[in-house]
Symmetry: none
Subunit: 261 residues, 2 copies
């Protein structure tokens, strides 16, 4: 048992923090849905869906972590029940395509482009997650590297699309939101790069408890940024774009704005 009681507790608290933050983000997004124009509600709903799914999985991850170890009088012992790493991948399989759809929806690309882009990027995101899993559950460095490389292919295609493809569409956004949309794009790119980096920690010299801590806390921080912080940013873009398009918050104004269309 290489994990120390301190490392165990740190990971434990990081998981609990993620439960609270994902739950709070979900409630915030869903409670504020009506304060954006109808055409942006799908983006905000899906943002909340992503954090809700993450809330569920962190609840499970936390429970699995509690079952896997026991701390008595400051001494940590493994119970023999394995910590279930698969929850993360199941989560990503659902949330990563949704995250890309969020971003595409809030940008309001020209008709026809949205669906095509969402399907292609969503498929690539799912492929990326599936290819990463066999590496994650392996303790052999060579196996980990092989699947990491395989997973990096769809990853880099998505990143390229975000970096270049979506950048071009930013010019078509209203002036007031251009920098905010660009921030969301850059936040996606940066937070996503965190994942393959965390993945390789156990392959570049970190071992035992240190590797476990880096991987678990690292993925948790990456998830918080990529899902909760990103979701709030999507919401802010939706609010700003609603305003730019003349949509007021009160339903009186909404009725008037609707009539003016």
């Amino acid at each position: 048992m290489e994990l120390t009681a301190g490392q165990y507790t740190l990971i434990y608290n990081a998981f609990s923090f993620a439960i609270a933050a994902m739950g709070a983000a979900t409630l915030f997004l869903w409670l504020n849905r009506s304060s954006v124009a109808p055409q942006y509600r799908a983006a905000v709903t899906i943002s909340g869906l992503v954090t809700a799914i993450a809330f569920y999985h962190y609840w499970r991850i936390f429970g699995s972590w509690r079952e896997a170890y026991e701390v008595k009088d400051g001494v940590l012992t493994a119970t023999g029940v394995a910590f279930n790493d698969a929850y993360r991948y199941v989560d990503w399989l659902l949330t990563v395509p949704l995250l890309l759809i969020e971003l595409i929806l809030v940008m309001r690309l020209p008709h026809g482009e949205t669906g095509k882009k969402a399907i292609r990027l969503g498929f690539l995101a799912a492929l990326m997650v599936i290819l990463g899993y066999p590496g994650e559950v392996s303790s052999a460095s060579s196996t980990r590297w092989m699947w990491w490389v395989a997973s990096m292919i769809p990853f880099l295609i998505i990143l390229w699309e975000l970096a270049s493809g979506l950048k071009a569409s930013i010019a078509n956004q209203p002036a007031g939101v251009r920098s905010l949309v660009d921030k969301a794009r850059v936040l996606t790119i940066i937070s996503w790069c965190f994942y393959p980096l965390v993945f390789i920690f156990p392959m570049i010299g970190f071992t035992g408890g240190t590797a476990t801590t880096l991987v678990q806390v690292g993925y948790t921080i990456a998830d918080l940024v990529a899902k909760a912080v990103f979701g709030i940013l999507i919401y802010m873009i939706a609010v700003r774009k609603s305003e730019a398009e003349g949509w007021g918050v009160s339903s009186g104004e909404m009725a008037m704005a609707g009539a003016a269309d």
Copy 2:
């Protein structure tokens, strides 16, 4: 074991009280969201978010307290499972910046000021919580003092900002709510001062069970005032300001107010 069975039960009941009060405050705030004008709903939503996050953490704190001790036939024994003090700090890391944002949002500062103030105060609040934690988990008085002093620096900057910076903005509030907004500001200052005071109880002569009781019950009372009572006050300000700005509760009146714009 210095904690008595009576002290254990008192703390136990204080935690359960906090679960009930935080849950009730959350439901009250969210159920009444629609009775304030749309521009104040974000403040009320976030007030409910703060008590919801506190509800979650008191649930966990209560569970951890139950696991840490056992009372059988009036005799208290420690189970060897450590009580997790970190839940409070994880809670504060999320809720304290949100509390400041609540206050700033309900004041409706001039455009541009809100975001800047929220980010600066939010960052200082997070720093304050992070600097307090290493002291909280230490039993050495000198270590506790060191981190207390470090944490007091951002604390005093925030308090100064609330005392002077926000005071200036109060003159710009509608006449009917000025005193209510000032109450919220003073309540924030007073309830916040409670925390560093509770922190130093174990350093100024209180030991064993007495120190534990003072710290746990003290933080719980401080949390109830700073989050639930404060949240209700924010709601009352939002109601009063909605009225002052001609926003009625019924949607008929709302439509008329919209048409009059």
